[in-house]
Symmetry: none
Subunit: 200 residues, 4 copies
DNA sequence: GATGAATGAGTTTTCATTCAT
DNA sequence: CATGAATGAAAACTCATTCAT
């Protein structure tokens, strides 16, 4: 009960949580240790009690965003039945422009710009793990579809392409003007499933 | 229109040209106005005679790289006959790990990290134009293939997806460990053309 | 006088003793209050129960080292007979490069750099006392030699010079490259005793 | 004439010269880049135009002091005739407590505390060179004395000891209370020359 | 037009000391 | 008595931009 012994890991998360929105509000590049301290309502020195250095802070905040995004996705596909529909939801992240989604999307954008500029190995490793998480989910979706005889067995061949497609759409949405991600995704899924779906 | 203006533009290009390789050599992020001045053999103040600010310089250098890349690509597909082969070459940029290609690829990576971090509107505009250039080329390739009865007329529907796929592969190659872009692209093209190619 | 006070003094020594080797291991300059607390297995705040401030801690640790060095020296000359030999041992500290000796020597170096940089009066006082201790020992050695008719009575005049010489050699060993302290000390003692020793 | 091209080396010296007295006034350890900039009447950034880093500044200031000291010494012994007298002047630096001399002496003290605390190799090298300079001068003095039949040929054997003695006296003057350097040096020289001087 | 010297705001990081529990 | 979480002053260094010559 007493504050004598603080749970370091928990405090880390508390500080990061307090700064969760900084990424949207001022951009990852402009986050300074001072800002973090102020936002979390603590002293600059205190930040260094819980984080190795500035990158460590940024990393924890990003971590939190990704985790949040994972959970959102799992929630989303929980009750969906058709494979086509599940894949639609898989692409929600890049298709849907709801305010909340856009906040996450912009967080991801900032995140990418860090990963791209840093030659930070652990960032790449972390990013690979995120990729594998979603790839695993997609694989499950596709395999379930095959089992249910919804889609043809060779659908499994298209997983890599879907993953790449999704990332490409994200990138274009981030870097191009007037890019209509919804239409492009819709067309892609329809073309794809017209090929993959088994006629009954 | 005035000869003044033309000279300015020419000098801009001269300076940028002198700095063409800086992006590979020291990385876009580490380019300073001092470096540019030194590399171009002019004074730091002179740089500001021809460029608004640092971003303006970076922009011009990038411009030059993209242009160079455009020309390379046009050269590449000049004598290629089959549509499948042309699309293969279209993906050369992300598939082939030759030293020269990797230099360009890493330049593109640096470039992306700038576009993503900046909220620079003109960057986005510029990037859109680049996209449209390559999209145009791809469209021509596909349309020619349709005219030649190599591929089915609905192939035109897949252009957006190919564009997105290519960008997604690029992104993954930049941000993931042990990513095998070659195999993924090969499988993608083969799967695609098995569907699109007309049997004779 | 009160048992309180005695316990305080004892605890001071316990803490300092626990940190005895820190000086060799990480260097005096890099000792932080945190390190001291950790090494002594107590809380940072507790350190301040027993020490006024950081300098006070450092001082206590140094104290302990000097005391240790005193004892070593007394041990060393206990059974030595000839005066020349005793003076040789007097210079052991700056002549001999055994690992243990070098550890102490480097400790002394760190110590000096503190004394020189600080305008700390008590440090100077303390250092004077150390000097007087060794000067007393040297005086006894010389006086014994005179009594034994080993060396001439005016040898007493050379005590200050020997003391200064020893410190000068130490300083040079600390601050010069390729300084051969052994040869210089040997020559010095031989020259000196050739003058001072009585022929029989 | 125009400020278009500044002589970098000269400006370095100008800045260092402006800070010449900082060492006495606030102590070497407390010199900050800000202080240097303020004292020299320039901007902080400007300091870095002429110096690699903070150590580089300190080094230049020290350099200037040593150089100054060298010149003073050469001036001092120019017209002195007897060898005994020359060696007296050789020890002036540690014997005489004139205000100007004490300023230099304190500068040397600060300098030593840097050399001792840093594991900076170039500092040691530099210090060795200073030593060699004065050793050379002393050697010349002694050799001249031998040539003139003032002192015995084996006087040459005592050079190292005189050098060490001088440094030892300096160190004691820096680190001990009520240390009477004058008397000790006087006694040393007299004892020494009573032995070395040839009787006529 | 060309130059490059001067600038200072802005950033990260350390650590002795305090004080509430 | 003991503790350790919180603190913030202080310091080194970078670099885009300006402006006098």
């Amino acid at each position: 009960m007493s504050p004598r012994k603080v749970n370091k890991e928990q405090k880390r998360r508390e500080i990061a949580l307090a700064c969760f929105d900084l990424i949207h509000e001022i951009g990852m590049k402009k986050i300074t240790v001072s800002t973090v301290a102020q936002t979390a309502g603590i002293g600059k020195g205190t930040v260094y009690e819980y984080f190795e250095n500035k990158d460590d802070i940024i990393f924890e905040i990003i971590n939190m965003h990704i985790e949040h995004h994972h959970n959102k996705f799992l929630e989303l596909i929980k009750d969906v039945k058709s494979t086509r529909q599940k894949v639609f939801h898989f692409l929600d992240f890049v298709m849907i422009d709801s305010e909340e989604n856009m906040r996450h999307f912009n967080g991801y954008k900032e995140y990418l710009s860090i990963v791209l500029s840093d030659e930070n190995k652990s960032m790449k490793q972390f990013n690979t793990n995120c990729h594998l998480f979603f790839e695993g989910k997609l694989k499950t979706i596709i395999e379930d579809g095959i089992k249910n005889k919804e889609i043809s067995p060779n659908s499994i061949e298209f997983i890599d392409s879907i993953m790449a497609f999704e990332k490409g759409v994200a990138l274009q949405k981030m870097t191009q003007e007037n890019f209509n991600s919804y239409d492009i995704c819709e067309k892609f899924i329809n073309n794809l499933f017209n090929i993959l779906e088994l006629k009954k």
